[in-house]
C-alpha cells in the first residue's frame, strides 16, 4: 500500500466500564482501504464503531491517527430509530450531511449546494430529490442516506450494515459508489451482518468474536476455520461449506 496510513489500532480493549466486549483489536487502515468488520451478535462491532466515532474511549491500547483525527467522520448507522415519516424531502435529508459544519445561523452556500447536487446525481436520487421520505422504498431511502454520507465529505466513512434489507440492484449500485470513494482516497469501514459478495469489494477484514479479534486480508482471515474459532459459524455449517467448496474446486479442474 503506497497510500498514507489514516488510522492504526494497537491492542485495543473495547467495552464499557463494567463490561469488556473484545480485547486486543489491532488493525491498520490506509486511505483508499475498504475494511470489512465481521462478527457474531455482541462481538463488539457496534462498540468498535462507537469508539471510532469518539463517543466511547478504549479501555486499553491506542488508537493512532497519523494524519490527525479527521474533523468529520461520516457515519451511516442502522435504521432502527430512523423516522421516515418526518416531513422532509430527499434533498434536505442529503443536505443534513453538511449541517454540522455550518454553524448555527448560516445558510448553505454555493459550494455546498454543488456537493449536494453531485451526491444526489451519483447516488441516483436526483429524480426523487423532491419526494418526501415516507414515499420512498427501502432501497431509495438507503440511496438517499448514501447521498447524505457523501455530503459529509469525510476522509473516513463508517457504514453499519449498509446492505440490510436492500435488493441486489441497489446493493450493486451502492458498492460501485463505495469503490469510487476508495478511489478518491477515502477509507471505508463496513460492518457486515452476512458474509456475501460485498467482501469482494473489501481489501481487508477484521473478524471479531469470543472476545478476540483477527485482522488480515479477507481470503486469509475469513476462512471456515477462523469463522468457527470466532463463533461466527457452527462447526457443522463450516464443514458443509467446506464440502461444497471442495466439490466446486474439483469440478473446475
Amino acid at each position: 500500500m503506497t497510500q498514507p496510513l489514516l488510522l492504526s489500532a494497537d491492542g485495543l480493549t473495547l467495552g464499557y466500564r463494567d463490561l469488556t466486549v473484545v480485547e486486543d483489536v489491532t488493525f491498520e487502515l490506509a486511505r483508499g482501504d475498504v475494511l470489512a468488520v465481521v462478527g457474531h451478535n455482541g462481538s463488539g462491532k457496534s462498540t468498535l464503531i462507537r469508539t471510532l466515532l469518539g463517543g466511547l474511549p478504549p479501555l486499553a491500547g491506542a488508537l493512532n491517527w497519523p494524519l490527525a483525527r479527521p474533523e468529520t467522520v461520516a457515519y451511516l448507522g442502522q435504521r432502527t430509530d430512523f423516522d421516515n415519516r418526518f416531513p422532509i424531502r430527499v434533498r434536505d435529508l442529503a443536505a443534513m450531511g453538511a449541517w454540522p459544519g455550518l454553524g448555527f445561523l448560516h445558510k448553505i452556500d454555493g459550494e455546498c449546494r454543488a456537493r449536494i447536487e453531485s451526491a444526489l446525481d451519483r447516488t441516483g436520487t436526483a429524480e426523487i430529490a423532491d419526494m418526501p421520505l415516507h414515499k420512498l422504498s427501502a432501497g431509495q431511502l438507503q440511496r438517499a442516506l448514501f447521498a447524505r454520507t457523501m455530503v459529509q465529505d469525510a476522509p473516513l466513512i463508517l457504514l453499519d450494515e449498509p446492505f440490510t434489507a436492500i435488493d441486489q440492484t441497489t446493493e450493486a449500485a451502492l458498492l460501485t459508489l463505495i469503490d469510487s470513494w476508495a478511489a478518491e482516497g477515502r477509507a471505508v469501514i463496513m460492518v457486515l451482518h452476512d458474509l456475501s459478495a460485498v467482501l469482494q469489494h473489501c481489501n481487508s477484514a477484521l473478524l471479531l468474536g469470543q472476545g478476540r479479534a483477527l485482522f488480515g486480508n479477507p481470503q486469509e482471515t475469513l476462512t471456515p476455520h477462523n469463522l468457527v474459532g470466532h463463533a461466527y459459524l457452527s462447526r457443522s455449517q463450516a464443514t458443509w461449506i467446506e464440502t461444497m467448496y471442495r466439490g466446486q474446486e474439483a469440478g473446475h479442474v
Binding site: T72, G77, D92, L133, A138, A165
Partner: protein, 305 residues
C-alpha cells in the same frame, strides 16, 4: 359584527393568543414530530403542583407562577429521563407515574389551602382576564422560543429523524432536545394561564396534527401549524364572545378540532392517502428475508470463498 373590537379585554385576549401562537406552533409541531404529543399533555398536568404551591405562597403573581411551574415541570422531566435510563421502566410509564403523582399533589395542596382559590380558572384558564404581567409572560415566552428555535432547529430536526446519526455528529447530542423540553414547559405556562390545565395542550397539539396532513416539508409544516393555531384562537375567541356562557379555552380548542377534521378529510396526507404510506415494518420483513438467503449458505459459498 365587530363590536367585540371595542372591548379592551377582547383586544388583549386577541393580542395575547396571537403572540402565543407564534411560539406554541413550532413547539407543538415538534412535540408531534418527536412522538411526544401525549407527553405534552402529561407535562401540562405535571406543572400543576408548582403553580398551586406558588399560588398558595404568594397569590396571583406571575413571577412566582413561572418559578413554581418551571421547577415542577423540569423536575418531572429530569426524573422521567433518569428513571427511564437507570431502571427497567420505560419513559412513558415513568412519565405517567410522575405526572399522576404531581397532579394529585397539586390538587391535594389546592384543596388543603381551602377557599379563595379560583378552581375554574385553573381548569379552564382566564383568557378574557389577562393582566399586564401575563401579557409580558406570553411575550417573553414567544421571544425566547423563537430565538431558541433559530439555534436548535437543525440539531432538533436531525435528532428527530435520525438520533443515531445526530449522536455521531455532535459532542452534546442531548443539548437541543433538553432545551426543547424547557421550551415546552415554558410555553405550557403561558398556555396554562390562558387556557387552563385541561385545554393548554389542545392549542399545541391540534393545529400541529391538522397541519401534518397538509405539509410535506418542515418549513411548510411549521407555517401551516402557525396559521391553524392563530385562526383557532381568533375564531374561538369571537365564538366565546357571542356565547357568553362558553369558556374561551374549549371554544378555541374546538375550532382547532374543526381544522383537524377538515384536514383529515381533505388534505393530501389525510384519510385517502393512507394506502400510499410505506409502513416502517416493511424493512423488518425484508431484513428477515436477507437472513434466510445467507443461511442457506448458497451465497456465502459461491461468492465469498
Amino acid at each position: 359584527m365587530f363590536e367585540w373590537f371595542e372591548y379592551a379585554f377582547m383586544v388583549r385576549a386577541l393580542v395575547a393568543t396571537s403572540v402565543m401562537s407564534f411560539a406554541i406552533a413550532p413547539v407543538g409541531a415538534f412535540l408531534v414530530l418527536r412522538r411526544l404529543s401525549l407527553a405534552g399533555e402529561a407535562m401540562a398536568h405535571a406543572i400543576v403542583p408548582g403553580i398551586v404551591i406558588a399560588f398558595v405562597v404568594s397569590g396571583l403573581s406571575v413571577v412566582s407562577m413561572i418559578i413554581g411551574g418551571l421547577t415542577a415541570g423540569i423536575a418531572v422531566a429530569a426524573l422521567t429521563s433518569l428513571l427511564a435510563r437507570m431502571t427497567i421502566i420505560r419513559e412513558d410509564a415513568s412519565l405517567a407515574s410522575l405526572y399522576l403523582i404531581a397532579l394529585a399533589l397539586g390538587i391535594f395542596v389546592l384543596s388543603a389551602a381551602g377557599s379563595a382559590v379560583p378552581l375554574k380558572s385553573f381548569l379552564f384558564g382566564s383568557i378574557l382576564g389577562i393582566d399586564n404581567e401575563t401579557l409580558v409572560l406570553i411575550g417573553a415566552t414567544a421571544t425566547i422560543t423563537l430565538v431558541s428555535f433559530a439555534f436548535i432547529l437543525r440539531p432538533l430536526i436531525t435528532n428527530t429523524i435520525d438520533p443515531v446519526f445526530h449522536e455521531s455528529q455532535t459532542k452534546y447530542p442531548g443539548l437541543a432536545t433538553q432545551w426543547f423540553m424547557f421550551l415546552v414547559v415554558l410555553n405550557l405556562l403561558g398556555a396554562f394561564k390562558a387556557l387552563g390545565t385541561l385545554m393548554a395542550v389542545g392549542l399545541m397539539i391540534l393545529p400541529a396534527t391538522a397541519a401534518r396532513y397538509w405539509a410535506s416539508t418542515i418549513t411548510s409544516y411549521l407555517l401551516t401549524t402557525f396559521v391553524f393555531a392563530l385562526l383557532s384562537c381568533w375564531i374561538g375567541l369571537i365564538v366565546s364572545f357571542h356565547l357568553p356562557d362558553v369558556p374561551s379555552g374549549p371554544a378555541i380548542v374546538l375550532v382547532a378540532a374543526v381544522f383537524f377534521f377538515i384536514s383529515l378529510i381533505l388534505a393530501p396526507q389525510g384519510f385517502h392517502a393512507t394506502a400510499r404510506l410505506n409502513p416502517a415494518c416493511r424493512w423488518k420483513q425484508s431484513d428477515g428475508d436477507a437472513n434466510v438467503i445467507s443461511k442457506t449458505g448458497e451465497k456465502i459459498h459461491e461468492k465469498t470463498f
